[in-house]
Every structure is written in C-alpha cells, then in structure tokens.
C-alpha cells in the first residue's frame, strides 16, 4: 500500500523513515499527495563512449567480480552541475540526491524512486529499470548518528534536445510503501540452514 503525504510525514516523525536534510512540513514544495520530491546534488559521473579507434569493449554483467567503479574510472568523467551541466541527447550519467535516506528494517517501509513527469516529457529519465529502495536502506542499528545514504540516479536523455541540469533541481520523487511482515534481514533471530559444500579456508 502506498503511503499518503500525511502517512509519510507521520513516518518521518516516528523515525520510521529518515530524510536528511528534512523535506519540511506538508506545506513545502517537495510534497505531493503520495510522494516526496528529492533534489539533484552537484556531483555527476558522466559516461563517455569508448574512443572509436580503441579495441572493442564488452561489459560482462555475468562476471560476479565485475566492478562498476573500475569501469567508471576508465569510461566516465566527473562533472559538477553547481552552475549547470548540459545533458546531450543520448547521454548517460550517474547522479545522486542531496537528501540522504534511511529505512530501518523494523519500520517495514520500502520505497521506489521515480522520475517526474515534467522531466519525462522532455525525455529525461532518472533510473534504468531499478527503482526499488529496499527496507533497511541506509540503516545502521548501532550507529544512531548515521543518517543514511543518498539515492543514486541513472540519468539519461532519450529526447532530441539538450537538457540543462543544475544542483538543487527537483529531479525525482520517492514513493513509500508498506512491507507486509519483517524482512529476514531485519529479523532478530537467525535461520539454521544448509550451506554449500566448500573446503574450509584452513584446508585450502
């Protein structure tokens, strides 16, 4: 069930959802009836196509040791949109929200990050089919001072026009949903289960 604005505000008051900095009360611009807008932070990671003369590069997502950081270090460039950054048609980049989010497991709330229709109409997407923010996101039970993580956005321009991004732009919205039951990750007991047959380290 999707939470209404009043239910989100109540969850914030109770600490079931934590957003830093606070979005303000229900009169603030960030709110709508069933979602909360979040803002774009300055730092962007812009993916660049390989040089045409470079050997053909194939990314293998089946490789369990695949590291997006290593790939980005070779094929992405850091940009800052404090004074604006122009996203050309076909461009793909990573961005992050100004706000940090925390969803304690026990609160049984998950969320989804979605685009805003105003930006979608000009071809700007903010995620690539991975909108789910799982229960437990950005939560450390033993560290009350930890306020959570920003949400990473996969930004792409599918339209024919150049779009200018500026830090602070309300770029996405978060929709909160109630989770039925407590996830096993947040469950305070431990299941006894059978693991795979592997040689213990001291036998290797």
């Amino acid at each position: 069930m999707i939470l209404s604005d009043r239910e989100i505000a109540t969850a914030l008051e109770r600490g079931q959802v934590r957003i830093t900095p606070s979005p303000g009360d229900l009169s603030a611009e960030a709110w709508s009836s069933t979602a909360l807008d979040l803002r774009l932070d300055a730092r962007l990671q812009v993916w660049r196509p390989p040089c045409p003369t470079a050997p053909r590069l194939v990314v293998d997502p089946c490789d369990v040791a695949f590291s997006a950081t290593e790939l980005a270090s070779a094929h992405a460039a850091e940009e800052d949109c404090t004074n604006g950054f122009e996203v050309e048609p076909g461009m793909f980049l990573l961005g992050w929200t100004v706000e940090k989010l925390q969803l304690p497991h026990a609160a049984r709330i998950a969320a989804r990050v979605e685009g805003k229709s105003s930006l979608a109409r000009i071809g700007l997407g903010v995620h690539v089919t991975a909108p789910t923010i799982h229960a437990g996101f950005g939560f450390r039970a033993e560290d009350p001072g930890f306020v959570g993580n920003p949400i990473q956005l996969e930004i792409w321009n599918a339209g024919p026009l150049t779009v200018r991004l500026v830090k602070g732009l309300r770029i996405c919205q978060v929709i909160f949903e109630e989770v039925s039951g407590t996830p096993s990750r947040g469950y305070e007991g431990v299941f006894s289960i059978q693991g795979p047959d592997v040689e213990p380290p001291d036998a290797m």
């Binding site: 950081t69 950005g138 993580n149 431990v190 299941f191 289960i193």
Partner: protein, 95 residues
Amino acid sequence: MWEALCEVGPGLRPSERTVAVPDVYGRRHHLRVEEGFIGEVDGKHYLPVGLIGVDEAKRLALVELPHESDGGTNRLWVWRENLHRIEAPGAGAEP
C-alpha cells in the same frame, strides 16, 4: 547487527568507497557505499550485512548485502570467521 570482512577502495565520489566482499568460493563482490557505512576493527574493514542464516557444521553464514552488488548479488555465503558482531540493543543471537 553483523558486519562482513571486506576490502576497501575508492568510490565514484569523495564520500563514497568501493568495497569487495569475498564469498566462500573466493569470489569478490563489489559494491559502492558511503564511507561512514564501513566499520574498522583491528585494522580490518567490515561492511554491515544482514545475517540470514548459518550452517554450524560447515562454519558458513548466509548474509545479505546492504544493496545489490555490481555483479547482481544480494545474498552470499561467507565464512563465519569473517563476520564481526556489533553490540547493539536487541542484537540477534550468536550464529
């Protein structure tokens, strides 16, 4: 709360780090987290994980990463010795 042994490298932003969590097969699962998310004990780095279950006989633990790894993994088997328990009110039972 539990943490799993990991290696730490630079992330895509100054406040971010890339961690590699080894599983029992010797594979390393990479994911990016905020710097403050990583714990340190006796010079070793640990990533908070959810403890799903244990195999006492084989000294294994099934853990869930804080979010999906770059390779698509959410849950993995780690050596129980690679886990570190954080004392917190209401913490889970011994594995």
